[in-house]
């Protein structure tokens, strides 16, 4: 399949980048002109694997993906969750060998952008290069926050923190509102992401439901008590560095 510009696909990237920075009209047009190859993927399908040397980056257009690392005996650590607008393997532009895997969690549609086109774009548009750099730095900030959660938050606080983070990220790209958001993530996925067991996740969710903090059904999360979730997890959204904008 050959590469061609796809405005619909690039709109997701533009929406994501505009949630963390300002884009000029020229920048927007340049991004829209990037040639891409669209692929539809099944759920739980690898996009790139640990050790691969990809020649393109993957932009998520629909569905969820996760970065993960597998150890012996099937031990999996999910490193981050990714939603439309994310380019989870952007690092492959500058770090040539993958040190983790990227796979879909749900059925997904992705746009592969050849490295040479991305390099050309960043060379000709330093503003875009800066924003992609900013995105990578925010990615690192999210890892730092996950580290704090992993080391110092209780299971309850940890799950609460993740829910707050996911809600805000989804809201920033227009995929959530009114304290409702999609959450097509199994308890095993949550366990692997938070360094907990599915049993602990189950118990925490039960406790949260019992306290009417959340409703979680059919892959939809409803946060019934936003302020309480923020308080319990000591959530400070600074690390997401989301641009404030008038809600539309």
């Amino acid at each position: 399949m050959s590469s061609a510009p796809d405005h619909h696909a690039m709109n997701w990237l533009i929406r994501k980048l505009e949630s963390i920075a300002r884009l000029s009209d020229k920048d927007r047009q340049a991004i829209e002109s990037l040639p891409v190859r669209i692929h539809k993927l099944d759920a739980r399908q690898d996009i790139v694997r640990d050790g691969d040397k990809p020649s393109h980056c993957c932009l998520i257009i629909d569905g969820w993906a996760c970065r993960y690392k597998l150890l012996s005996q099937g031990k999996r650590q999910i490193l981050s969750f990714h939603i439309p607008g994310d380019i989870p393997d952007l690092q492959s532009l500058h770090i040539h060998t993958m040190d983790h895997s990227l796979g879909t969690m749900t059925k997904a549609t992705v746009a592969f952008i050849p490295h040479e086109n991305l390099r050309d774009l960043t060379a000709r548009h330093p503003g875009i290069a800066a924003i992609l750099w900013r995105d990578t730095l925010i990615d690192a900030g999210i890892f730092r926050e996950w580290l704090v959660s992993m080391g110092r938050r209780s299971a309850f606080e940890h799950v609460a923190h993740l829910f707050c983070e996911l809600y805000l990220k989804l809201q920033a790209v227009g995929l959530a509102g009114n304290y409702r958001c999609p959450l097509p993530v199994t308890q095993a996925d949550l366990a692997d992401a938070l360094g907990l067991t599915p049993v602990h996740i189950n118990r925490v969710l039960q406790e949260m439901r019992g306290k009417t903090l959340i409703t979680l059904r059919s892959s939809t999360l409803v946060i019934e008590a936003w302020n309480e979730l923020l308080r319990v997890s000591e959530f400070d959204p600074t690390y997401l560095h989301l641009e404030k904008r008038a809600t539309g």
Partner: protein, 81 residues
């Protein structure tokens, strides 16, 4: 090495309270808890609620029955020797 089980109720702060204290050569080596109906497909399975020393692994397995659980605990202790 001999394992001995002692029924015990565990304050897990959840519905899962029926447990077994597992002694290895007289020393408490693990606490197993039976998962309640709340856990749906895992209901009735035994969960490694706590482990000591070589039984204290980051990954907490669930077991179909107590025999499987004890076999696993024995393996952990044997690997340590």
């Amino acid at each position: 090495m001999t394992l001995r089980l002692q029924p015990v109720r565990v304050a897990t702060d959840s519905y899962d309270i029926d447990g077994q204290l597992v002694f290895a050569d007289g020393f408490p080596a693990a606490v197993l808890v039976k998962l309640s109906a709340y856990h749906e497909d895992m209901a009735g399975m035994w969960f490694l609620e706590a482990g000591f020393g070589w039984v204290d692994t980051p990954n907490r397995p669930t077991f179909a029955d107590l025999d499987t659980a004890q076999a696993w605990i024995e393996q952990q202790l044997a690997d340590a020797a």
